[in-house]
Symmetry: C2
Subunit: 148 residues, 2 copies
DNA sequence: AGCAAGTAATTAACATGTTAAATAAATAGC
DNA sequence: GCTATTTATTTAACATGTTAATTACTTGCT
């Protein structure tokens, strides 16, 4: 049996835990959950996104996103409307209020990133990001490649 | 605002998702959840472990582990008893039945690892594991280093 | 046009995780 | 040696995630 220390999923989880430990206090202060933050952040980059596309981009299942969108909408951090062309679609966009939350968080966030890059080392950090990106791409095509 | 694609937590999450997609069918077949699997696997390496130590090793909070341990114990995949020296401690160990589940899973698991290493490339895979290990160590000392 | 099949999102029922309070046992200070 | 504090785990209340079923709409077929 492969030793626990050689488990890729566990290593990824541990790394994520170690990183999130630094961001959680700021999320708490901003009053958003991890997942709400992913939504807001993703919406900052695009004008208006379909719910399904958004879910895919930030690793959330649609039922989860559905509730998160409802909550964020209630709090006026995002807007949602139905597609005109295709009325099944839910189109989501960030509000000025939502953008303000992101901008406030972003300041803290960048400081943490600086600390993290400093602790890990600029080179090792860049290498890690690249390795992850490559692995994700390759794994995704492996997963797509062998359907059912 | 830092682009979404440069988010380290999201990249780690996406990578983990992509990897787990390959293991989930086998876990389902073996009738264990992701977290139960982490417990069983960790227990294979040690004779008998304290619950708290186990939780730490596999990134589970104690209340979660408490329930998981209760379930696995009910299914006779693990044994638990209290410490003799310190009666607060919960000592957990794997049963032959539990070990059988792990061994069955391990066969599938190793095949998947082979495919993954093949898809990602042996060198890139090794590099990723090393980068992750290093990042975890450095992040943990960063997190430990600045308490409260 | 009219209906079958497919698709996007939601809802419902359930499983799991999380935070805070409770329990139980050990250690420390007097 | 007794009380106060700390430590390990569990329980309870609540939040979140997940799978399957449902709704609402679109598309393709005849």
């Amino acid at each position: 049996m492969r030793p626990l220390q050689q488990s890729l999923p566990l290593k990824l989880l541990m790394a994520r835990e170690a990183v999130m430990e630094r961001f959680r206090p700021h999320l708490l202060e901003a009053g958003v959950t991890e997942q709400q933050w992913r939504v807001l952040r993703a919406l900052c980059e695009r004008e208006e996104v379909e719910a399904g596309e958004l879910a895919e981009a930030i690793c959330l299942k649609m039922p989860s996103l559905s509730r998160i969108i409802a909550d964020l909408s209630r709090d006026r951090l995002i807007n949602r409307r139905n597609g005109v062309d295709d009325k099944r679609l839910r189109l989501v966009s960030i509000t000025p209020k939502g953008r303000a939350v992101v901008e406030k968080m972003a300041r803290h966030s960048e400081k943490e990133y600086a600390q993290i890059q400093d602790a890990v080392g600029a080179k090792a950090y860049a290498a890690l990001m690249d390795d992850l990106e490559e692995a994700i791409t390759k794994l995704n095509s492996l997963n797509q490649g062998a359907p059912d």
